[in-house]
Amino acid sequence: MKIPCSGNAALKWIVFFFMAWVAVRGAQRTPEIASRLDPGTFYGALVGDSANAAIMKERHVDFSSETLRALNLRLSEVVAKPESLAAGTLVSRESLAMAKRREMARWYRESINSEHARFNLERQHILAAGKPAEPISCRPAHTASAAGEARP
């Protein structure tokens, strides 16, 4: 199919321009360049994401430990009053004990994940503290004008 186009060269230039724009914007978002263009935002975002992940993992641990408390509550009620178990449901003494074992295993996994997330957050704090001091597009350092000497 022939596309009628009088401004063929103009179209080529426009396509070239937008592809170059995409390449430049994409490059600016790579960690190697973004961390030097705007270190504060880059490392701040990494710390924020890690902090958020650590909070979510802690929530999972809390959910699991509260589920264990609820299971203990139900189990103690069932032991005290076996007639309180309704027939035709999934809950029995055996299934309660099994659910408790499952939930303990899950709590163990979740607490390991939470600890890993906290380690990662510490690591991101350290990386943010030791971030490159000078971005690529930096202005002349203040010290140069103050001391009155030119430095490379």
């Binding site: 924020g48 902090a51 909070i55 929530r59 809390d62 999934l90 309660l96 499952r102």
Partner: protein, 170 residues
Amino acid sequence: MSRAGGKSGLRRAAWFSLAGVILAAIGFALYFNLWLYPGLGLSGFSRSDSQAALGHAALGFARSTGMAVEGFDLVKFHEVEGGEAYVWGAAVMRPGPADAALLGERVLVWVYLSFDGFRRSWVRVDAQVLAAPDNEMYFESGQPGQLGRARLALAKIASEEARRFREVWP
């Protein structure tokens, strides 16, 4: 010609109205579950009023399920500097006489809210009875079967939806 045209026009009108009803139902379900229910009654609590917001959400859950709140077993507030804020907790509740046979005398209810920066309000993310009798943790291998599990999951979704309606329009 005119008779055939009228018949097809009627059929088309029927299809259009059916599609309209389905679209309106989907739109209402989205509006209800993503906007109306999550923020209902929570717009008055600021970001630092997390405990009050959590208490309000727990009371709403209790009212819609006929339970009485006795207190909180756990309340936690966390926030990312300049970002998200979360509050979650486990409320101790006493089920009504109708549910006591199924749930027991006391239950723990998980309530979880997050602060929506766009709405500038707390929103409900999750509220559920912990270790409820229809929980998957009681499943054994092949018991219940796949159909039974699907039926349980659908019943869970339907009852949660009905509970939300009861909470919004008591």
